[in-house]
């Protein structure tokens, strides 16, 4: 969607003030954030994981722009404290477990609505004043256990927040006070599910994904924001005889233990009411011998009707994956001309080193290209133009040299797209690992087992700009330090692309060519940059572990 000229930043700011000042405690039952406002375009607030539903992470704000970004300076920074720590304000404690996880870091979206920021870490949510970084409240969830790898943020519906806990609860808080409204169990803890995603609010749906490293089936669920009742549940693998996709598995048992987890938020197209998301790898991850076939709908882009949870279309980006390369990377909704015709598209720079563009209405394949410079694992493209794994580049007993590494050419780090430049920005990691098969059992292994993996060097790490209509790389910028690379990007109408360089620098690039225009060295950056307008000023935020930083112009 190309922005119309009259849709200016000042108009946006006025609108956000109207929407957000409605959220004023003490006026009965204030309406809070209207879910319809999440449709964007993205400006004053940051009301959902990627800013708006397109996952472009493109802000219409341009108070900070290519000509003045050199003066960008620190407005405030604040440290969030995890766990049931004392102090002021006191921590609100919830949870059904007895364990206290501390030490988590900010690795997700920090929503900004009504002048309040909501950063998270596993089991922790904070409300922070967007003007000075002052903590307003803190909620802490005592856990039953599970993998505490990260939390990707909250969702917001009117005055209610929603977040997922590692031990598989969807928890709803009052955004104004941090008091818990309710919690519901969303996945089976015994079966080793664990939950990291940011819930996505679409109308009266809270879309909730989850994860699992053991061989449980993947699913996406929708909950009622008022009551926490389940609205629908979509399994990403066949669960019953006769289910579509079963023909791509050797048998029902393999499918039901086939993975395909939903651990990153998707995008939403209000025109078609389709929620479009990527699914995780099939399991066992590295030993595909026990699951011959394409293993639908793992490693696929899937479009569901948001009201019914029924699948409209799918496109599989890594059929029969054998490298743990989930294709959960943010699908970016964009419009571009393909062969001269305007098309409604969705693009993914996938973990497996390939770039895909698909028609977002029909799922028709448009483009496949290899953007990972040294990506070497595929035997070719199948009839649907998706790469299939060459057996020699799967884990072998004598070892196979494979690029990308297990973490992928990119991973959860969110990409960005600017309609002004027409470019999609992603990180590109060309590291190599030796992959050894350590469990040659013909029954296959389980989970991520059965292999040994050793990183042996890098062919370079880049900021890479791709034309989504052709899949061609427009330009690459190499990071001098290959140990690093970005934790996601933010593009703005100010002509800027914000990112991090893996060397501790927060960097503003020229979105046209990637040239760095401003930087500040603040340490190991742990989430993707965001921006918002508050009290007349544009702020750019970024996190380093337990520190949240806000930059502005004075």
């Amino acid at each position: 969607m190309k922005l119309k000229p009259f849709w200016t930043v000042s108009l946006l700011s006025v609108l956000s003030v109207v929407v957000l000042t409605a959220q004023n405690p003490g006026t009965g039952t204030p309406p809070g954030l209207d879910p319809a406002s999440i449709e964007g375009p993205l400006g004053g607030s940051w009301p959902t994981f990627a800013g708006d539903y397109t996952s472009r992470r493109f802000s219409t704000l341009k108070q900070v722009n290519t000509s003045n970004v050199k003066n960008l300076t620190l407005a405030w920074m604040t440290r969030v404290l995890t766990g049931p720590r004392g102090g002021v304000p006191p921590t609100i404690i919830g949870g059904v477990g007895t364990r206290e996880f501390t030490g988590g870091t900010i690795k997700g979206a920090v929503l900004q609505v009504g002048g309040v920021l909501y950063p998270t870490a596993p089991d922790n949510v904070w409300a922070i004043d967007a003007l000075d970084g002052r903590e307003i409240w803190h909620y802490f969830w005592k856990t039953r256990g599970a993998t505490h790898i990260g939390n990707r943020g909250v969702g917001i519906w009117r005055n209610y927040l929603f977040f997922e806990t590692p031990d598989n609860y969807l928890v709803s808080l009052d955004a104004r006070t941090g008091e818990e409204r309710w919690h519901v169990e969303i996945a089976d803890f015994d079966q080793q599910y664990f939950s990291t995603p940011a819930p996505i609010v679409v109308g009266d749906h809270i879309i909730v994904g989850t994860g699992n490293d053991l061989d449980g089936p993947g699913f996406l669920q929708s909950y009622d924001p008022e009551t926490g009742k389940l609205q629908w549940k979509f399994y990403t693998v066949p669960m019953n005889e006769g289910d579509p996709g079963l023909e791509t598995w050797p048998n029902l048992d393999a499918a039901r233990y086939g993975g395909g987890h939903t651990w990153m938020p998707g995008s939403y197209d209000p025109e078609t009411k389709l929620y479009i998301f990527g699914t995780g790898n099939p399991t066992p991850a590295y030993t595909g011998v026990a699951r011959p076939g394409n293993n639908l709908y793992t490693c696929a882009l899937v479009a569901l009707n948001v009201d019914t949870g029924k699948m409209a279309w799918y496109y599989q980006m890594s059929p029969h994956d054998t490298h743990d390369w989930d294709t959960v990377q943010s699908p970016i909704l964009l419009d571009a001309r393909v062969n001269g015709k305007p098309r409604k598209l969705v693009s993914v720079a996938a973990r497996n080193g390939y770039f895909f563009t698909v028609d977002r209405v029909t799922g028709e394949h448009i483009v496949t290209t290899r953007y990972g410079t040294h990506t070497n694992w595929a035997g070719g493209l199948n009839p649907t133009q998706a790469p299939w794994p060459a057996p020699a580049k799967e884990a072998t007993i004598p070892g196979a040299l494979v690029s990308p590494v297990e973490g992928g050419t990119t991973n959860w780090q969110p990409p960005a797209y600017s309609p002004d430049t027409g470019l999609l920005y992603t990180q590109e990691d060309n590291s190599f690992n030796m992959l050894y098969l350590t469990d040659p059992d013909p029954r296959g292994s389980m989970g991520l087992g059965g292999k040994m993996r050793v990183e042996v060097g890098s062919g370079g790490k880049f900021l890479t700009a791709i034309d989504p209509a052709t899949g061609k790389v427009a330009w690459r910028r190499r990071y001098p330090n290959p140990g690093g690379g970005g934790i996601g990007f933010l593009a703005t109408a100010g002509g800027l692309l914000f990112g991090s360089d893996g060397s501790g620098n927060f960097v503003a690039h020229d979105a046209k060519d990637g040239k760095p225009l401003w930087h500040t060295r603040i340490g190991t950056i742990s989430n993707a940059p965001q921006t918002y307008m508050h009290d007349g000023r544009q702020y750019i935020t970024i996190a380093t572990g337990d520190m949240l930083w806000a930059f502005t112009l004075y």
């Binding site: 790898i149 743990d324 004598p398 297990e406 389980m446 060097g457 001098p480 760095p516 060295r521």
Partner: protein
């Protein structure tokens, strides 16, 4: 997954990479019973007698279908290590209905008592508790893996062609095959050039597991023509830092191409070969290096 990252997305730090090279393992220790564990790993161990009784019954009644390692077998028994029934079961209460229904005809006419079934469940839970994390199965008996498959002659030839300008079988790599590394470890180390990652801050990679550590050096040429040289400590688009021969540290702001920065990394040749090797080349060179006694 997360594998997120793939979970362990946060699993990408350089420290990790080095640790992985050194240890030759990616098992992500979840800390048994710790915060990051699941119920299968959190449960209190059952009395050993109960587990032993259960194992004996399992071996007689269950093993032929479900396998000695519980991962299922040729006769169609399901994989009990990932079975939803077993994962949700606490003390046989979910196992018993299965035994009494679908397994009825497969068990001896005398059947199993509730206590027998509880013992079997206890045995299975004791195995589940050994899972190392990320869904991997509990370690089984060691499997012989023939990593060494290369051709020594072809490896010697490849070595002479591609490696000989920096390395020598009678010099720096003399007797490399006698080191107690094992072929996979040796292979990882020579491909990586003895370090976990390529060029970069020396701070990230401190150990030299194979041979003398070869560090990247840098020559900085200032606009005045003055040159400053030393061990590369840190480089990004905005700064280069080095340690001079006398141990003093220098750092310089970088603005575009000024000052001129010339990094010399002895591992560049290794990195440049990564996209070039075939797996056969790799296996051949490993065979050759292993033969250097």
């Amino acid at each position: 997954m997360s594998s997120q990252q793939s979970a362990v997305s946060g699993r990408q730090s350089a420290a990790w990479a080095v640790a992985l090279v050194l240890l030759g393992t990616t098992v992500w220790a979840q800390g048994r019973g710790g915060i990051a564990s699941f119920p299968a790993q959190q449960r209190e161990p059952d009395p050993p007698e109960l587990i032993a009784k259960g194992r004996a019954i399992y071996d007689t009644e269950c093993r032929s279908c479900h396998g000695p390692d519980l991962r299922g077998g040729e006769r169609g028994g399901s994989n009990l290590l990932r079975s939803a029934v077993m994962l949700n079961d606490r003390a046989g209460e979910l196992v018993e209905p299965v035994m009494r229904s679908s397994h009825k005809d497969r068990l001896p006419p005398s059947g199993l008592t509730a206590d027998d079934i509880k013992a079997v469940a206890s045995h299975i839970h004791s195995i589940l508790a050994l899972a190392p994390g990320q869904g991997a199965p509990p370690p089984g008996p060691p499997v012989e893996l023939k990593v060494l498959v290369g051709d020594i002659g072809a490896g010697a030839e490849y070595f002479a062609q591609k490696c000989g300008s920096c390395h020598s079988a009678t010099g720096d790599l003399r007797g490399i095959g006698t080191r107690d590394l094992g072929p996979a470890q040796l292979q990882n180390l020579w491909i990586a050039g003895g370090r976990g990652r390529g060029v970069g801050p020396a701070a990230e990679v401190r150990s030299a597991p194979m041979s003398t550590r070869r560090e990247a050096t840098v020559v900085v040429t200032l606009p005045t023509g003055e040159t400053v040289e030393g061990r590369l400590e840190r480089i990004d688009d905005f700064l280069v830092a080095l340690t001079q021969k006398d141990g003093t540290s220098r750092s310089f702001r970088r603005t575009g191409a000024v000052p001129k920065v010339d990094v010399r990394d002895p591992l560049e040749a290794h990195r440049n070969l990564l996209p070039v090797y075939t797996d056969k080349d790799i296996h051949d060179v490993t065979a050759y290096l292993t033969s250097l006694k």
